[in-house]
Symmetry: C2
């Protein structure tokens, strides 16, 4: 796979732009395909709860007035779901219910995560708990969660037990990852209680990878795909999640704030246990970094600049880049492993969708999402 | 059905005591039957999240040490689930997975409701958000929700789609009822925007009845019961929920604080839209009550005493008692309508379970739960 991220290979802007264009088109196409069913699901909610859901999806302002500028996410998970159906040889439309379910779960998790993390803004707007209050935002998240399960359980002509099992496994993993992420905050930087890179990987796979894996696999489940196809797509999404999280960490330290939208060194200032730091702390050159991190309750901007340099000197940046690359290679391997049938139409769809999935993955690590 | 509630017919303590003993035995038996599977499910959670879940179930103290005195609920919903299976002619053990699922959902809803309502204590202990923080309590609720779906979706030999649909419908109703309950707070007492009794009924059915209906019906779904049996049990549970909520309202105004555990006139002081008040406001004698309620932002204890008298004078207490009775009669009718088969073993079970369900219902309106 050609990785074109500025974080991973900043020298290839042209390839990045091509992948970005294809991916943008794909995301737009998926959003258009999924939107009617998603809107229909949201319309089944209690009107007040539905408004909070629509606000969280970026469709309206508080009070319910339509937004003048769309404020939603790119819809990566819904794109993965429709491409997952296509990867299993079915038309993209087969994955629409899966797309609705994962988009609802994703929105639920953002709503509740913003409460847990105390984040006041998302995508340049007040978070739901800021706009509507904590209690209502908890309730809106619960409603989206229930709606996702209901939507999936009502899909005709589907292996509903398998679909619901996939979704609930992802939900359990998501909670597990969020719990570990919260607990990491109070763990020390060094010593036997320090967070190990393998603990980070498990956290990232659960917190970010599980729902990406579920999205990709669930489309294939609805397309009645063989077990190996579903498993390969789930694995692909999980590796993608870890890669995505590590790239996010890299950009949080060395990314351009104008591009990432995050303040410079925000993760270092918050004392977040990101992969580059953990990797650096595991090297023989970790001494000065460990002393800096252990010396203060929290870093000031000058400390954070020094920490960034020490992490790079100790090899943390290179290790994180290698880590992201290895997960991207694993995604590649999963896509290459997708079974092909003798049915030409199905095989053409599979081939087409794997190209599109690759474009999306490139786009993801490009951080243009 | 012989109603023996102090709120409904205070003159029949002996019948109430007999129903109470039978119901206590039943609840204890159900808890013992369900506990191993419930504990096994909780053990699958992330350890920290599992501790919060165990705390919320009254099994441990914050930190994880076992409680010296059990601090959990009576386990009404799990009893309804195993009796629901029996009502469908199956052994009670058939309903155990349903019992686990509804108990997990019930615990989830208490966790999140306590956050939404800002309640600092439950059953004499700090609520989970007070003991662990709001964010962790949100997360623990989410985990229980996901675990409930996962547990149900993994039940072998079951109509999983039907079971999951029942659960997700109840969850959606529960959220809808909670939303309405929250919105009722800011509605006026009088005028076209006032809460109507039928809106109250819908709120109570959703908020309280849906999960009781789901509990009773889900046991029957797992017992492969005919559609009419499942529907009758669901309706019974929903009527029970409304009756339960109205009795709760009656006890909130005229109950003995030593028995109810709630401060005297708490609902009136909080300005809660309870059924006796709404019923009183709908009568020709509502004038003085309406003026009192509309006169102040919130009532002081002397106002609350006066309001209680005015509600009673206007017929609100009698109307609420009649309302509860009518829903109890509806529960009765649902139980009488349960189909009997020619299979003696199954019919004996159905008869036995309906007797037990009646004892539980009596116990419920006795408010000894």
């Amino acid at each position: 796979m050609t990785t074109t991220s500025s974080a991973l290979s900043p020298a290839r802007p042209a390839a990045g732009q091509r992948a970005g264009e294809r991916a943008s088109h794909l995301l737009e196409h998926s959003r258009a395909l999924v939107r009617p069913a998603l809107a229909e699901a949201i319309a089944r909610l209690h009107p007040w709860v539905g408004e909070m859901a629509a606000y969280s999806l970026g469709w309206c302002e508080p009070g319910g007035a339509p937004v003048s500028v769309p404020a939603g996410g790119k819809g990566l998970r819904q794109a993965l779901a429709v491409l997952g159906a296509e990867a299993a040889g079915a038309p993209r439309s087969t994955g629409v219910t899966a797309a609705v379910a994962v988009e609802l779960v994703h929105t639920f998790s953002l709503l509740h995560d913003d409460i847990m993390d105390g984040d006041p803004t998302r995508r340049g707007r007040p978070t739901a708990w800021k706009a509507y209050g904590t209690g209502p935002a908890v309730l809106a998240g619960d409603a989206l969660f229930a709606l996702a399960v209901e939507t999936l359980a009502a899909t005709p002509g589907t292996d509903i037990p398998a679909a619901v099992r996939h979704l609930s496994t992802a939900l359990n993993d998501l909670v597990r990852g969020q719990a570990d992420d919260l607990l990491f905050e109070s763990r020390p930087w060094t010593g036997p209680e320090a967070v190990r890179p393998d603990e980070y990987r498990a956290m990232a796979e659960h917190k970010t990878g599980a729902l990406l894996g579920c999205a990709t696999a669930l489309g294939a489940v609805l397309a009645d795909a063989p077990r190996e196809t579903v498993a390969a797509l789930d694995r692909a999404g999980r590796h993608l999640g870890v890669a995505f999280q590590v790239v996010d960490d890299l950009l949080g330290i060395w990314g351009d704030p104008a591009v990432t939208g995050k303040p410079v060194h925000a993760d270092l200032l918050r004392g977040k246990k990101t992969f580059p730091v953990l990797a650096a702390l595991g090297t023989p050159a970790a001494g000065p970094l460990a002393r800096l991190l252990n010396s203060a309750g929290s870093l000031d901007p000058a400390d954070a600049r020094r920490a960034a340099a020490l992490i790079e000197d100790a090899g943390g940046r290179a290790a994180a880049t290698a880590e992201a690359r290895s997960h991207i290679a694993a995604v590649e391997a999963c896509l290459n492993d997708l079974p092909r049938t003798s049915d030409t139409t199905r095989t053409t769809r599979t081939t087409h969708s794997t190209h599109d999935l690759r474009a999306l993955l490139d786009f993801l690590v490009c951080r243009e999402m």
